[in-house]
Symmetry: C2
Amino acid sequence: MQDREETSPLTLNRLSVYLRCLRTLQQDGVRRIASQELADRYLLSASQIRKDLAHFGEFGIRGVGYDVDELARRLSSLLGLDDDHPILIVGMGNLGSALAHYLGFNHGAFRVVAGVDRDPEKVGRQMGSFTIRPVADLPTVVRESGAEIGVLAVPAAAAQENYDALVAAGVKAVLNFAPARIKERPGVPLKDVDLRIQLEEVAFFLGRDETETD
Amino acid sequence: MQDREETSPLTLNRLSVYLRCLRTLQQDGVRRIASQELADRYLLSASQIRKDLAHFGEFGIRGVGYDVDELARRLSSLLGLDDDHPILIVGMGNLGSALAHYLGFNHGAFRVVAGVDRDPEKVGRQMGSFTIRPVADLPTVVRESGAEIGVLAVPAAAAQENYDALVAAGVKAVLNFAPARIKERPGVPLKDVDLRIQLEEVAFFLGRDETETD
DNA sequence: AGATGTGAATGAGTTCACAGCT
DNA sequence: AGCTGTGAACTCATTCACATCT
């Protein structure tokens, strides 16, 4: 059983994937599954599944496999998905409102509970269940809404100052959608999510020679 | 000078980051920069910058550093950002329209030129510069719009069939926002972008012990 | 002299192969 | 017998340190 600190993001992301697969299996009525079959069904690696899980304890039954329901429960708990995680969005421009709209609907543990913007014209506007507040009110907004996760959807140049403001206001983790490198404070994990980088990654392959057929 | 195939996504993503940093430097009027200073300014690793760049050729001047303008030009060309990359979105629900709205505005080389949906009620609706078309028209829509990149914003269960449809229609790369594992066809690179996984990654750290202060 | 480009050394992450349970 | 859990082998990625060039 390992400590939270020493878990790599890669492992962590795979746990999320496993949980998703298990949810599908639950719907299909599967009650037990072996690492090998899980791997086959969802294009994963059996030994990696076992290693990832073993990292956190003994989840399986030797000679049998994993109990789908129980494993799902334990992964959900491990990932902190049993508790609610209120989200606050900073920057209610195109991306910010797109995210509010998207995250506000589909997700269980994650729900957008507040949004702030620098622009006085956006302040006061209604967004689903909340009203956009001014950035200056961040501390109050965080306290009142109980927001745990901050989402940065501001221009690159404003990213660092808004991250700092979120930290100061007491947010516990930050997801950064701005295309900027932010200096992370210890204790407030930061995760960059840059759609442009993802697009550029696939675009890289577009120019490639079409004659090859491997 | 290396081949496209043998470049890791990690390296590729860093090239995007470097390019972004260079654009900022250009705006600040900086004409030359050494790997060490670039690293210091943007929290990167100097030796990694050099290795990443050297992977694609000799971009710098020994004893001097890199020419900001030229390096930016060469990275832009390498990443395929000099050409236009029209995007087609499959699934114009919450996420799809959020993405259309977002990508349609800010991005140079990337622009959403078309969108399709399964739901007859959404078909015909106007979305910025285009009208939503039925999924069945994919081949026609791809041909007419010249779309190169397909974006999947459909439910998980529909992801694989729509990826296949995109491939059949002639799209050259796919970005998948659906929380599903897709079987990739050789020649049509696929990149998963799962916002839920990113959220779950930061959520993992929320439960952690607050007494520690390292 | 000074910064790049690069082999060599280190470290991280994945796969293998089998001991150990059930 | 069968599948997990895990050390050992291996592959991939990063960092170091220096020879090379301007």
